[in-house]
Amino acid sequence: MNNTCIWILAFEGFGREREALEETVLLRYEKSLTYLSFFLLQQHTTFFTLIRYCIFQITQKKKTFASFFSLLSKTKSTAEMALSRLSSRSTTLLQPFATTSLLRRRHISTDTTPITVETSLPFTSHLISPPSRAVETSSQELLSFFRDMALMRRMEIAADSLYKAKLIRGFCHLYDGQEAVAIGMEAAITKRDAIITSYRDHCTFLGRGGGLFEAFSELMGRTTGCSKGKGGSMHFYKKDASFYGGHGIVGAQAPLGCGLAFAQKYSKEEAVSFTLYGDGAANQGQLFEALNIAALWDLPAVLVCENNHYGMGTAEWRSAKSPAYFKRGDYVPGLKVDGMDALAVKQACKFAKEHALKNGPIILEMDTYRYHGHSMSDPGSTYRTRDEISGVRQVRDPIDRVRKLIIAHDIATEKELKDMEKEVRKEVDAAVAQAKESPIPEPSELFSNIYVKGFGAESFGADRKELRATLP
């Protein structure tokens, strides 16, 4: 194995001195990727024991990164966190994950007393001072994060099966892996703040208050869907919750979102618009056109780049000369956030909202990852390795992160969380079953909603002498 070098630094202290040593800790695996991991060890594991163990595993060349990690974790005591970070060609710094403390066992708690948690990584910023890493949360919030993210995850997995069963047709772009962005954002904003996103919109819809039944009905083209079956996977909307879709054209949502912000400023609403786009859309010209106008006119626009590192099948380093998307705004300040950490996302969105209301546009880059391919017709493994995907799933999964936080803060037990997941699964299965029974749209729906006011104009089917309608 070339390019493998291991330095693992284990020490017995906690606190600030640790940070100074982090820069020298590197673990690399495989030529194509760089993983950086840092293992916080408890006091009784000696340094030399660990080194001997690691070297043994690596030289064996038998274990994948994922199983290597799980082996290593078994040698630790209960309070241990690991962090893995995906990076392109350059090495990046390691930062410690949240520290944990052993608390007395408590029953499953839903209280709102503030708990302060540190984000996994500090925020990197451009033209602005970053917010603090200390995020205030509560048991109730953490549990809601867990449940909502588990619901989103389950929904996307169910959509995967439905697509393979040919009940969902056309395009289906799944969001699993990126749930923390949707959840963290919702925790920081209100339903008066607007959200607009791309075609990867199922979970954003759910986060805005959309129902599972409406979502599955829409995916299966039933009249009970949120767009009455006429939109499909890419066109979910929920205007009463200020969710403006659901857009199929890459990058189109960028100026549209700045337009929403324009309307909020015009109507003096004291609200902001969050425009989500991917690393693929980040190179679109219309985005820079919209940013220019947003910055000129001080629009309360927050542009959120959900950087999952692949624009369809092309890795970010192959499509962007500068993949530092948070800096691409040039004169617009930016913040880079660990998008797999719901609390970091929450902190960043809260910070961004305050900034946008006072000072105009800001860019947030969410470093995130999607487990599925670009869409259901993309296996997702021709341009990245399965080991990379499983590696991220093992080490950076947003739901597991919150699960560990909950367990570490003694808010719920592992079994209780597993029960919650089972409940969520049942909920999703019930919604799927109900949606499967729902009716398909009436043929007359072909001609509805073309105009708000049709003035009696005529519309035609394929054979205009056979099928025509008057638009009301």
Binding site: A194, I196, S227, K228, G229, K230, G231, H235, Y237, K238, K239, Y244, G245, G246, H247, G248, I249, A252, A254, P255, L256, G257, C258, G259, L260, A261, F262, A263, Q264, Y266, S267, G285, Q286, F288, E289, A290, N292, I293, L296, W297, S448, N449, I450, Y451, V452, K453, G454, F455, G456, A457, E458, S459, R464, K465, L471
Partner: protein, 368 residues
């Protein structure tokens, strides 16, 4: 400087307002007593007054485009609006059609009523994705949740000597899209009524003006000058009644068709001239009713002939009124070439009155 401007305007309003009011009152009185005919108004003033009145009636209406504010409008259509309504209602944009059109559509999603100006519709191609995919289709894709009450307006078609990239007519392109409404005024009354209707309309409207018509004056009725005046969308106007041949057209070509009708009348052919006003929805009823009366059809447009507006009208008439036709349908359109610059070639590339006359005569079996 802005404060000074406001100060001056206010002063004028207080001191000069009373005076000017007296002046206009007396002018109106004299008009009533002396003028037998109606007033005249240029298309430019008609459009300006329409936007002005709609902005004053609805605070959600705002204007956005290149040079619409401080420059008073590239063609002076938005003259005086910035001074009257301020920079919060009239926005000068950078030269970035895709960006500002998308912003306009986004503002419309949120319930505002933008009037987006394209300096010419040739530049709308840079923003066409937003016009079609973000605006036209949204109401349908969202099953009625998101409607887009936006107006895209600007000069369309050929001007004089501006060359290939600045002379295309987009009526056929936009009128083929379900979800859009496409209007094309001819006279000042059309301009006022249709623009007011377009701004009030809850759906996206593409409003195709014509640069060469801006300076033309037309008689305008008192009714059309009223601030609540509106023309119905989807209804064509019979500009001249006739019984021998129906000439259907829109925008500048209406003027040419009327001149052609005069020439045809001298030769004993009575031509009915229909001004479409609305390309989408197309008033098939009026067209077909007229053809059933005259049995002959000549369609005229400035744009490219293939897959054009005329092609649609001809198809519609052949489908619905086949047994009424006494002659093949005739199409007069712009030449099937990019617009040349040389004056003589440009003349050959555009329909002229003689072309319309010749086609009408052909339809009447009177050609040589």
């Amino acid at each position: 400087i802005r404060e000074k401007m406001w100060g001056i305007l206010r002063q004028r309003g207080i001191d000069g307002g009373g005076l000017s009011l007296r002046r206009t009152r007396s002018a109106l009185v004299s008009a009533r007593s002396y003028a037998a005919g109606s007033k005249e108004m240029t298309v430019r003033d008609a459009l300006n007054s329409a936007i002005d009145e709609e902005m004053s009636a609805d605070p959600k209406v705002f204007v956005m485009g290149e040079e619409v504010g401080q420059y008073q409008g590239a063609y002076k259509i938005t003259k005086g609006l910035l001074e009257k309504y301020g920079p919060e209602r009239v926005y000068d944009t950078p030269i970035t059609e895709a960006g500002f059109t998308g912003i306009g559509v986004g503002a419309a999603y949120a319930g505002l009523k933008p009037v987006v100006e394209f300096m010419t519709f040739n530049f709308s191609m840079q923003a066409i994705d937003h016009i079609i995919n973000s605006a036209a289709k949204s109401n349908y894709m969202s099953a009625g949740q998101i409607n887009v009450p936006i107006v895209f307006r600007g000069p369309n078609g050929a001007a004089a000597g501006v060359g290939a990239q600045h002379s295309q007519c987009y009526a056929a392109w936009y009128a083929s899209v379900p979800g859009l409404k496409v209007l094309a005024p001819y006279s000042a009354e059309d301009a006022r009524g249709l623009l007011k209707a377009a701004i009030r309309d809850p759906d996206p409207v593409v409003f195709l003006e014509n640069e060469l018509l801006y300076g033309e004056s037309f008689p305008i009725s008192e009714e059309a000058l009223d601030s609540s005046f509106c023309l119905p969308i989807g209804k064509a106007k019979i500009e001249r009644e006739g019984k021998d041949v129906t000439i259907v057209t829109f925008s500048k070509m209406v003027g040419f068709a009327l001149k052609a009708a005069e020439k045809l009348a001298e030769e004993g052919i009575s031509a009915e001239v229909i001004n479409l006003r609305s390309i989408r929805p197309l008033d098939r009823e009026t067209i077909n009713a007229s053809v059933r009366k005259t049995s002959r059809l000549v369609t005229v447009e400035e744009g490219f002939p293939q897959h054009g507006v005329c092609a649609e009208i001809c198809a519609s008439v052949v489908e619905e009124s086949f047994s009424y036709l006494d002659a093949p349908v005739e199409r007069i359109a712009g030449a099937d070439v990019p617009m040349p610059y040389a004056a003589n070639l440009e003349r050959l590339a555009l329909p002229q009155v003689e072309d319309i006359v010749r086609a009408a005569k052909r339809a009447c079996y009177r050609s040589k």
